[in-house]
C-alpha cells in the first residue's frame, strides 16, 4: 500500500495529464483551438449529426436495374457481332429479344446452317479476351446456353454481376460526392457500405429536398434520332402504340419514351445512342438569347463534338431527341450541321431546375438508380438544444453522484470524486483524440458511466469497512480492501464491456455512439477508480499515518 514505485507514480500522473490536455480543446473557443502548437492535441470532440444538425442518408444501388441495363446494351452488342462477324463471313440473320423478368436475351438464328458460327460469335462476346487488372483472366460476362438447333440464350454470370455492382458502388460514391460538393457544405461523408450501399452524411443542412433531388436522378443524358417512320396523327393511337411497344419484348431498334417537350406525350426514338452524356466537357446554366428562358448550355469534348457534327451534318431536316433518364426533354429539328460541339438544352426549366441539371451533368451520371433506404435529418436548432440538454444533464447528474459519494463515504468519497473528475476528462480526451463521434445517446452513456464508475470505489470502500469490522489494522484493511475487490471489479466490468461490444456491432448511428462512450468509460473508470484512488489513498496514508480509517 505504501509502496508506490516511482515509475508507476509518473505513469499515472502522465496519463491523467494527457487526458486533461486532450480534453482541453473542447472548452476553448474555436479561434483559440486553432492556435494550439503542433504536438499538443487541438481537436475537439467530433459531434454526431443529432448534435450538429444535418442529414444522414443511406442509399442503395439498384442492382436489378443495373443488370437490366447491361442486358439491354448486350442486345446491341449481339446485333453488331452478327452484322459484322469476326470470322469475316456474311451477316448472320436472326431475331433477338429480351426477357427482362428472367434476365435472358433470346437469339433465334434464321438459317440453321449459321448455328455454328453464331455460337462461336456469342461465346466470343461472352468471354472477353485479355487479362484482368490482377493478372488472371477476366471472368466470363455471360453464360451462353443452347436451347435447340437455332435458339440461344444469354444471361449474366453471377461473378460479372458482382463485378458490375462493385464498380457501380465505387462510381456512385464518386458521382454523389461531386454533386454534393457543388452544394458547398464542408465535411460531408460519402462512403460505401456493404456491397451495394452508400452512406451520405451532410452536416449543417436542414432541408434535404435539394440534396435528394441531386442524388435521386441518374442523369444519363443521350442524344438519339427520332424515328420518323412512325407517323401517327391521333394521340390516342400513339398512346396505344406506345403502351403496346413497351409491354412486348423489345427488339431494340426503336422505343417509345415519354416526352416533356409539350408537343406529344410520347416520342418514338431510336435506341442507338449517337452521342452520350459521357462526351460532355462542360455544362452551365444560362438564359436563352431570344426568349430569356433558363436553359442549360453544354459543350462536348473533341470526340463528342466530332460525332455531334457528323450526326447533325447527316440528318439536316430531321429531328433528334435530347433524352435524360429515358425521358425526352426536347426533340428539336436539325436546321444545320453543328460542328462546334456546343448545344443548348431548353425546355420548361426554372433557374433552379436548370442549375440542378447543370450540376448533374457536370458530375457525371450515376451507373444505376440510388434508392434512399433510410433518412435521419436533424435541424440545427434541435442539435443545439440537444447539446444544451446534454450539458445540463451531465452537470446535474455528475453533481448528484458527487454529493452521494461524499455523503456516503466521507474522505474516501472525495477520493472517488477526484477519480470521477479525471475519468470524465479522460473520456472526453480519448473521444477527442480518436475523433470518435459523440451523439446524444453518447452523452447519456457518459452520464451513466459516471454513475457506474463509482461502483469500483463502492466495492473497495465496502470491502475496507468489512475488513475493519473484522478487526484488521488500518493498513491491512486498506490493502485487503483493494486487493480483494479488484477481481470482482474486473469480472463485473468485463460483462458490461461485452454488452457494449454487442451493441457496437449490431447497433447503428446514435446507438453506436452510446456503445462507444460506455465502453471507453468503463475502461477509463477502471483506471481512475482503482489505480488513481489507490495512489491518492497511499499518499494520504503516508502523510497522515492514521490509526483509524474514516470510512
Amino acid at each position: 500500500m505504501l509502496h508506490f514505485p516511482r515509475w508507476k507514480l509518473t505513469a499515472v500522473i502522465l496519463v491523467c495529464a494527457l487526458g486533461v490536455l486532450a480534453a482541453l480543446p473542447n472548452f476553448l473557443p474555436a479561434s483559440v483551438r486553432g492556435s494550439i502548437p503542433a504536438p499538443l492535441p487541438s481537436q475537439a470532440v467530433s459531434l454526431g449529426l443529432d448534435l450538429q444538425g444535418g442529414a444522414h442518408l443511406l442509399l442503395e444501388v439498384d442492382g436489378e436495374g443495373l443488370y437490366r441495363e447491361r442486358l439491354l446494351n448486350a442486345l446491341d452488342d449481339v446485333r453488331e457481332a452478327f452484322l459484322r462477324p469476326e470470322d469475316g463471313g456474311t451477316r448472320i440473320t436472326h431475331r433477338r429479344s429480351i426477357d427482362e423478368s428472367a434476365g435472358i436475351i433470346n437469339v433465334r438464328i434464321n438459317d440453321p446452317g449459321d448455328a455454328e458460327r453464331a455460337e462461336k460469335a456469342l461465346r466470343r462476346l461472352a468471354q472477353p479476351q485479355g487479362l484482368s487488372i490482377l493478372g488472371g483472366t477476366e471472368p466470363a460476362h455471360f453464360t451462353v446456353t443452347r436451347r435447340d438447333d437455332s435458339h440461344f440464350a444469354l444471361s449474366l454470370t453471377d461473378d460479372y454481376k458482382r463485378q458490375l455492382l462493385r464498380q457501380a458502388v465505387t462510381q456512385s460514391v464518386e458521382v454523389v460526392r461531386r454533386r454534393i460538393d457543388e452544394l458547398g457544405t464542408k465535411e460531408t461523408t460519402v462512403a460505401p457500405q456493404g456491397d451495394n450501399r452508400v452512406l451520405v452524411q451532410v452536416p449543417g443542412i436542414a432541408d434535404t429536398s435539394r440534396l435528394k433531388a441531386l442524388i435521386g436522378q441518374t442523369a444519363k443524358l443521350s442524344f438519339q434520332m427520332v424515328d420518323d417512320t412512325i407517323r401517327v396523327s391521333d394521340p390516342q393511337t400513339l398512346l396505344d402504340e406506345a403502351t403496346r411497344r413497351r409491354l412486348e419484348p423489345d427488339d431494340g431498334s426503336t422505343r417509345f419514351l415519354p416526352s416533356k417537350d409539350g408537343y406529344t406525350p410520347y416520342e418514338a426514338v431510336r435506341t442507338k445512342i449517337d452521342v452520350s452524356g459521357e462526351s460532355l466537357k462542360a455544362a452551365t446554366q444560362g438564359f436563352d438569347a431570344l426568349t430569356g428562358e433558363p436553359v442549360v448550355n453544354i459543350r462536348f469534348d473533341t470526340t463528342g463534338a466530332r460525332k455531334f457534327g457528323e450526326i447533325t451534318g447527316a440528318n439536316v431536316g430531321k429531328r433528334f431527341a435530347i433524352v435524360l433518364d429515358d425521358v425526352v426533354l426536347s426533340a428539336p429539328r436539325i436546321n444545320e450541321p453543328i460542328p462546334s460541339g456546343a448545344a443548348q438544352i431548353s425546355g420548361s426549366f426554372t433557374v433552379e431546375s436548370a442549375n440542378n441539371l447543370a450540376i448533374l451533368l457536370r458530375s457525371g451520371s450515376l451507373p444505376a438508380k440510388l434508392a434512399v433506404l433510410e433518412e435521419r435529418t436533424v435541424g440545427p436548432e434541435m442539435g443545439a438544444d440537444s447539446i444544451a440538454a446534454g450539458k445540463v444533464a451531465t452537470i446535474i447528474g455528475g453533481s448528484l453522484v458527487v454529493v452521494f459519494m461524499v455523503v456516503a463515504y466521507g474522505l474516501f468519497g472525495v477520493f472517488a470524486v477526484i477519480g470521477l473528475v479525471f475519468n470524465l476528462a479522460l473520456i472526453i480526451g480519448i473521444l477527442s483524440a480518436l475523433q470518435a463521434t459523440l451523439t446524444l445517446p453518447g452523452i447519456a452513456g457518459i452520464v451513466l458511466t459516471m454513475g457506474m464508475a463509482v461502483d469500483a470505489n463502492v466495492l473497495i470502500n465496502e470491502r475496507i469497512r468489512e475488513e475493519l469490522r473484522a478487526g484488521k489494522t488500518a493498513l491491512n484493511a486498506l490493502e485487503a480492501g483493494y486487493s480483494r475487490a479488484i477481481a470482482t471489479i474486473l469480472d463485473a466490468n468485463i460483462t458490461t464491456l461485452l454488452a457494449g461490444l454487442v451493441m457496437f456491432q449490431l447497433g447503428a448511428g446514435p446507438v453506436r455512439g452510446f456503445a462507444v462512450t460506455l465502453s471507453i468509460g468503463i475502461l477509463t473508470s477502471m483506471f481512475t477508480a482503482v489505480v488513481l484512488t489507490q495512489l491518492m489513498v497511499s499518499i494520504w496514508y503516508r502523510l497522515k499515518r492514521p490509526k483509524t480509517i474514516p470510512i
Binding site: T377, E381, G390, M405, L448, D455, E462, T488, L498, A499
Partner: protein
C-alpha cells in the same frame, strides 16, 4: 482538507442479516407471475414499435404558438397515407407526426423505398400549407429493408448478449452460476418489455440499447454477489448452502444498494434534464437498474439453491480450481 472532517453517513454500519433465502419461494413465485403478466401484455397490447422496426416516417416539428393538433391531424389525414399518429412531444409547441410504412402491390424493392420518400415530401408540403411557419426539428424515414434489418439486428443483439454473459460466467464460475445469471437477467429484459407494452411507450432502437445496458448492469450486479458466494464457498466449507447464500447476499447488500443508488441518481439527472428525445431510453434504464438490482438479490442467488453448487472448490478429482483469480 485537514480542517474539514468529513463524517460519512454510515447507512450500513453493521452487517445486515436479512433472511433473503427464506423468502425465495415468494420472490421466485412473484417473479414467475410477472413473467407471465409481461408475456400476456406483450401478446395482447403489443409493443408500440417505432419506425426503426416498423418502417415509416417520423417528423418532429415546432410551431409558432401552441400547436393545433386538430389542424395537423386533418392536414395529414387528407393525404390518405394510411395510419398517421399526431401527438404532443414535451412542449405544447412540439408535435410528433408518425406515418406508417407505405406499401404498394407489385412494387419493386426500389419503388417501395421511394414510396417512403414521396410520402415525406407530401406531408411536408401539406403541413407547410396548413401551418405556415414550421420548424422541422427532426425527420426520420426508415424504409422496409432497413427496418427489417434493425428488427433482426436488435433481437439478435439482445439474445447474443444474454448468451455471451452466460458463457462468460460459466467460464469464470460454474454452469449453475451461468444459468442463474441468465435467468435473472432474462427476467429483467422480459419485465422491461412488459412495462413498455403496458404503458405503450415507444419501442425503438434506443430502447434496445437500453436493454443491452440493463443486461450489462444486471449481470454486473449478479457477478458481485456470485463472487462473494464463491469466496464464501471456499472459506466456509461446512456451512449449509442456504446459510452461506444468505450471508453472501447480506454482505454485498451495502454495495448493491450504494451502486444502484449512485447510478439511479445519475440517471435521474438525465431523465429530468436530458430532453424529450432520450426520455424513453432513460426511463428504460432507470427501470432496468431497479429490476436488475432486485433480480440479483432475490433471484440470481437463491436460484443456486435449486441447481446446487460444487461445495469443494479445492482440487477435486485432480481438476484444478475453476476461475481462480
Amino acid at each position: 482538507m485537514a480542517s474539514i472532517s468529513l463524517i460519512p453517513l454510515k447507512l450500513f454500519d453493521k452487517e445486515t442479516s436479512i433472511p433473503f433465502v427464506k423468502y425465495r419461494v415468494f420472490a421466485i413465485g412473484s417473479s414467475i407471475a410477472m413473467w407471465i403478466a409481461s408475456f400476456i401484455l406483450v401478446a395482447t397490447m403489443g409493443l408500440n414499435f417505432g419506425i426503426d422496426f416498423r418502417g415509416g416516417t417520423l417528423i418532429e416539428l415546432r410551431t409558432q404558438g401552441a400547436a393545433d393538433l386538430g389542424t395537423i391531424r386533418s392536414a395529414v389525414g387528407a393525404l390518405g397515407l394510411g395510419d398517421a399518429q399526431v401527438q404532443e412531444f414535451g412542449e405544447p409547441t412540439d408535435v410528433l407526426v408518425r406515418i406508417a410504412r407505405q406499401t404498394a402491390p407489385n412494387a419493386s424493392s426500389v419503388e417501395l423505398e421511394q414510396l417512403q420518400q414521396a410520402a415525406v415530401d407530401r406531408v411536408k408540403t401539406a403541413l407547410n400549407a396548413a401551418l405556415g411557419e414550421v420548424e422541422y426539428r427532426r425527420v426520420e424515414v426508415v424504409g422496409p429493408k432497413v427496418s427489417g434489418e434493425l428488427v433482426r439486428g436488435g433481437a439478435l443483439a439482445v439474445l447474443l448478449s444474454l448468451a455471451m454473459m452466460m458463457l462468460y460466467i460459466w467460464f469464470r464460475f460454474e454452469w449453475q452460476f451461468g444459468v442463474g445469471a441468465m435467468i435473472s437477467t432474462a427476467h429483467d429484459v422480459v419485465i422491461t418489455l412488459g412495462v413498455f407494452a403496458l404503458f405503450q411507450l415507444e419501442f425503438n432502437l434506443a430502447i434496445i440499447a437500453a436493454l443491452l445496458t440493463i443486461v450489462g448492469y444486471s449481470v454486473n450486479d449478479t457477478v458481485v454477489t456470485y463472487d462473494r458466494i464463491r469466496e464464501n464457498l471456499r472459506k466456509y466449507k461446512k456451512m449449509p448452502l442456504e446459510e452461506l447464500v444468505d450471508k453472501s447476499i447480506n454482505a454485498t447488500l451495502a454495495r448493491t444498494i450504494m451502486t444502484g443508488g449512485s447510478t439511479l441518481v445519475a440517471l435521474l439527472g438525465l431523465y429530468i434534464f436530458g430532453g424529450e428525445v432520450i426520455r424513453g431510453f432513460t426511463f428504460a434504464m432507470i427501470f432496468g437498474v431497479v429490476v436488475g438490482t432486485y433480480s440479483s438479490v432475490y433471484i440470481a442467488a437463491p436460484l443456486l439453491l435449486y441447481t446446487g453448487v460444487k461445495r469443494d472448490w479445492a482440487n477435486v478429482d485432480g481438476k484444478t480450481l475453476k476461475g481462480a483469480p
